[in-house]
């Protein structure tokens, strides 16, 4: 392990205001993620686990405290800088896959690659490689509505890993899937972690999913209430 963690949340507060009501989602949270780790965040709904993911991916900002990625403070960047930072460093996987319905599988995977300086042919090769890794080479030119849920999530994973990001952030990746497909997706994530040393932070409330991680962090009311190695 390197001398500092890949991601560090230090004293992070996150407060949402809805009307006159203040919702304290995170209260002085401290959390480190090491490079190459596969971490599962668990806890009841509303405990702030998705918020943590959003902060790590620079799509949300803390009200207080710091989010450091490889020593760099994310909250000091403006929107455009954060956007290009995301393009370089993060791959997102969502519960609802969030594919573009109007684009084919390979076109979906090409989307984040467009933001890299890679030449056109190289991008195409990278996208095809990503689809090959998730086992969907055969369905490259299918549209999302021609794919099953598990296949859609695979395309989403391919899209997330295509740019070779430094961390994968997965928000309930198996939430919408049946047991068999879910297991296959988890196999895939585990393999990415083992073979390529891909850092993964996954939010889940499925204990079976959490079992696959190195470390499980239990959260409640915006605090870490427990953690153990899986």
């Amino acid at each position: 392990m390197s001398d500092h963690p890949l991601i560090r949340l230090a004293g992070v507060d996150r407060i949402y205001t809805r009307g006159n009501e203040e919702l304290h989602v995170l209260n002085g949270l401290d959390l480190d993620i090491q490079k190459g780790e596969f971490v599962a965040l668990m806890g009841p709904s509303g405990c702030g686990k998705s918020t943590i993911l959003n902060l790590m991916g620079a799509i949300d900002r803390p009200n207080a405290g710091q989010v450091l990625f490889d020593g760099e403070d994310l909250s000091e960047m403006n929107e455009a800088e954060r956007a290009s930072w995301r393009a370089r460093n993060v791959g997102f996987i969502f519960q609802a896959y969030n594919l573009m319905p109007v684009l084919t599988a390979v076109q979906n995977v090409l989307l984040p690659l467009q933001l890299t300086p890679l030449p056109r042919a190289k991008r195409r090769a990278q996208a095809e490689l990503a689809l090959q890794i998730v086992g969907l080479s055969e369905r490259m030119n299918h549209y999302p509505n021609q794919l099953s849920g598990g296949q859609e999530q695979r395309v989403a994973i391919a899209r997330a890993i295509a740019t070779d990001p430094r961390v994968l952030l997965a928000d309930e990746p198996t939430g919408d899937l049946d047991a068999k497909s879910a297991a296959a997706i988890l196999d895939l994530l585990q393999e990415l972690n083992r073979q390529n040393g891909q850092t993964i932070v996954m939010v889940t409330h499925d204990p079976k999913a959490a079992e696959r991680a190195h470390r499980v962090i239990q959260l409640d009311k915006g605090r870490v209430v427990g953690g153990h190695a899986a």
């Binding site: 929107e79 993060v90 969030n98 076109q107 933001l115």
Partner: protein, 383 residues
């Protein structure tokens, strides 16, 4: 800037019905604009291309009044006059008095007409000669030939009213015009012939509508016009002499504020179309909130995502606008309501600019909303 072009195109295709309807709306609007504009430009061009070195003398009383033919000799003798010719509005009825058959027919003197107006027309020497030699012949404009389905050798019969008697002349030539001030929907016959016809039927004789003078020195136009008018100021044949350009301008101004009226309507049409395109873009934006969230998550900057909204509107409107201007361009040179529709590149540029304006304006609010939309809002709204 990184714009997911393929996504823009995919959307336009996906919502093909909406896209098509929007394109056609813009097409119709720019078509209306183009036709109105080419009409107005046509009126302006007929003035702009008219000669300022030829002088036209008409009765100061009104268009309905005539001048005696004998003035021709007097005018020809004025210093500075190279040549004089005369035109006389015959009127009369061809087939019936419906607007379709209401085109100009004039009695002229062929040799002097050729000297004064020859350079404006495309007509072979051979044809000029045949026209000159045959007293019961005529030449007609190319548009007139097309609209009335007339060809060389056909006979044209016109029942006179201002001048009694029925003219019956053979078409010996079809002219084309080199300038927009000379329309291609007129018939010219021998003044001698119609004059004699009228005389023998007991009608008016030896009168003409206008004299046109070709000048030795165009710089003399002002002075010469004045001296002609002063000459006849106290006679019963008071003349009004002006450059051909001003003479044409007088016809153009007869439209009154009708061109303005149509311009205002054209403006309303454009605003109405803006409503349609803006509506399309708003509907698109509303359906794509989630997508914008995803794009931003993937690392597309707010700038490129909102440019996408702008580009899509621009694309639809420019396609519609370009198609419309292509159609409008094909109208160039056609006659509509006594006016040669004129479509210069400037008009085409204006049409495209309006289309682009429609696209940018209608994409503006969606682009702004897209720019401001945070990823969290986008994701939350979906839930």
């Amino acid at each position: 800037m990184n714009i997911p072009w393929r996504l823009v195109l995919a959307h336009t295709k996906r919502r093909w019905l909406r896209s098509t309807l929007t394109i056609v709306s813009v097409f119709m609007t720019i078509l209306i604009f183009g036709i109105l504009r080419s009409f107005i430009v046509g009126i302006e061009t007929s003035v702009a291309e008219a000669s300022s070195t030829r002088l036209v003398s008409a009765s100061a009383l009104s268009l309905f009044a005539h001048l005696p033919k004998r003035l021709e000799g007097e005018i020809a003798q004025l210093p500075g006059v190279e040549a004089v010719t005369h035109w006389t509005w015959f009127g009369g009825v061809y087939i019936d008095s419906s607007p379709d058959h209401l085109w100009g027919r004039f009695g002229v003197d062929v040799p002097s007409m050729r000297k004064v107006y020859g350079p404006d027309l495309i007509l072979d020497d051979e044809v000029w000669k045949r026209f000159e030699e045959n007293r019961t012949s005529c030449i007609i404009g190319a548009d007139l030939a097309k609209d009335e389905k007339l060809k060389l050798g056909d006979r044209v019969k016109i029942v006179g009213n201002l001048f009694p008697g029925t003219v019956d002349v053979e078409i010996v030539g079809i002219y084309q015009s080199k300038v927009r001030s000379f329309d291609q929907k007129t018939m010219f016959m021998h003044w001698d012939y119609m004059n004699e016809l009228s005389k023998s039927a007991g009608g008016r004789q030896d009168i003409v509508s206008t004299f046109t003078m070709l000048l030795k020195d165009p710089g003399q136009a002002g002075g010469l016009a004045k001296s002609i008018d002063t000459n006849y100021a106290s006679s019963s044949n008071r003349t009004l002499t002006q450059t051909e350009k001003m003479f044409q301008a007088q016809f153009a101004s007869m439209w009154g504020n009708l061109p303005l009226f149509f311009s205002i309507l054209g403006g309303i049409v454009i605003v109405a179309c803006l409503m349609v395109t803006a509506n399309t873009m708003m509907l698109n934006a509303r359906e794509r909130v989630q997508e914008v969230g995803i794009l931003k998550t993937l690392g597309f900057t707010p700038g490129s995502v909102s440019t996408m909204a702008l580009v899509e509107g621009l694309l639809l409107c420019l396609v519609g606008g370009a198609l419309a201007m292509a159609v409008v361009r094909s109208f160039d040179g056609k006659m509509m309501m006594f006016t040669i529709l004129t479509v210069p590149w400037r008009t085409i540029a204006e049409g495209l600019a309006i289309a682009a304006g429609l696209g940018l304006l209608s994409g503006f609010i969606p682009a702004l909303l897209t720019h401001k939309l945070t990823i969290l809002d986008a994701i939350r709204r979906r839930a």
